[in-house]
Symmetry: C2
Subunit: 221 residues, 2 copies
DNA sequence: TCGTCATTCAATGAAATGATTGAATGACAG
DNA sequence: CTGTCATTCAATCATTTCATTGAATGACGA
């Protein structure tokens, strides 16, 4: 840790930030925190991880300036420091998507026929909604929906897709979104709806990106 | 390494990219590669590191899709995979600049009175150059200058600043740039010129950013 | 074919990171 | 003041990363 010159010292700091992003669990934590602030316990529950482990990773994220902590009584609520964190996540993701062959392999293997799931862009969705042509569903859990969702969206958690689809008009296209571009829930929702005879597509990305783009967000009543 | 679900598998890939950025030496390697393609040996020489070490770090960067390798006879030339790498670097840097207190401390301590070194933006520089109001100097080593520089710039390596300044008009403002926003050379150049009685400022960032912005680049004759 | 040279690989040990456990801290309610 | 509960800290061990060394690979030129 010998600081020899200012550039190396700075690069060491930059490396701390990148290193903090360099762990799959921490990336997943960021995805969840992008939906809204969470306590350590809540986050641990979402991710199915021991509290102490999550706490430690949160410290790493905090040292890197990626999340901010705010004490509220017994709880400490962690949130993303700001939108620049999503930028960093997105640009790391972009590098991987463009150049890491393994990413392509995974996408082909798991997200079946992704090409056929041609995603809807934000602009396109706004036009479709304005003209009342589609039903927009938010497939995230109710608590995340409550913290902010696209205006006009209906909350249909993944587990209730089948039940919901029965009552939905079969001739109306459905657009689904969830936490972000690689959140599996919207993929599965679209897949399920299609197998039930509905016309369905995904939004190209999720709630945090919608919000970061400065588009209106609706809160639960 | 058990792949449980596609999201985790993807996040593991994203983490590989971030982890590859998570080392100061690799960041410095990226800065140098952003000036142009380099062989392992050349890069090792620039950084004053053993060749084998650089080679290993290059492998890590290659696995992450950050650099591409091209064999040319005995040499393997490494280059950045594309501009998205600079985006990722820049956004990681942005997070650090905004939220890591240590960065601020280093900047204040070493880059003395950085506020007084009000940097020139690219747009401003273009206007100043168009009107012939400033002398633009590129303080990088000649080999990097030869691989591409801002049109109209004069190559004045840091070591020759004092000699050069003697013959330069003292009443004409000088703008200096080098490898990037935190490259120390332009800071030192400005500092040296000012102490010699010249009016001098830095360009806000360096050559790679200039090029990435789609602005014209001049090559050595 | 042989020697040379750039690069990569393999092996070693030192250091950092990650997960787990249980104990410590700090704030609130009674 | 005491008990409870969310969070953090400390200690441990397994795993990974890092730098260094020296040997292997692979392409070129004689």
């Amino acid at each position: 840790m010998s600081i020899r010159n200012p550039k190396q010292a700075l690069y060491e700091q930059f490396a701390i930030v990148a290193k903090a992003l360099g762990h799959p669990l921490r990336l997943e934590m960021i995805e969840h925190l992008a939906q809204g602030a969470r306590s350590v316990e809540a986050l641990a529950a979402k991710l199915g991880q021991p509290v102490a482990n999550i706490s430690q990773h949160l410290q790493a994220l905090r040292r890197a300036g990626i999340v901010s902590a705010e004490r509220d009584g017994k709880f400490v609520h962690y949130a993303l420091a700001d939108e620049s964190v999503l930028d960093a996540f997105a640009s790391v993701r972009a590098v991987a998507e463009r150049h890491v062959a393994e990413v392509d392999r995974i996408v082909r293997g798991y997200f079946d026929a992704r090409d056929q799931m041609l995603p809807v862009s934000r602009d396109e969705l706004q036009a479709l909604m304005r003209d009342g042509l589609v039903t927009l569903i938010d497939v995230r859990p109710p608590d995340e929906f409550a913290l902010g969702h696209v205006p006009g969206a209906i909350n249909v958690p993944l587990s209730e897709i089948k039940v919901w689809s029965v009552g939905a008009a079969a001739d109306r296209e459905v657009v689904a979104y969830c936490r972000g571009p690689w959140c599996v829930m919207s993929f599965e929702a679209v897949s399920a709806l299609r197998s039930l005879g509905h016309s369905a597509r995904r939004l190209e990305d999720g709630m945090p990106e919608w919000k970061a783009a400065g588009l209106p967000v609706e809160m639960a009543a």
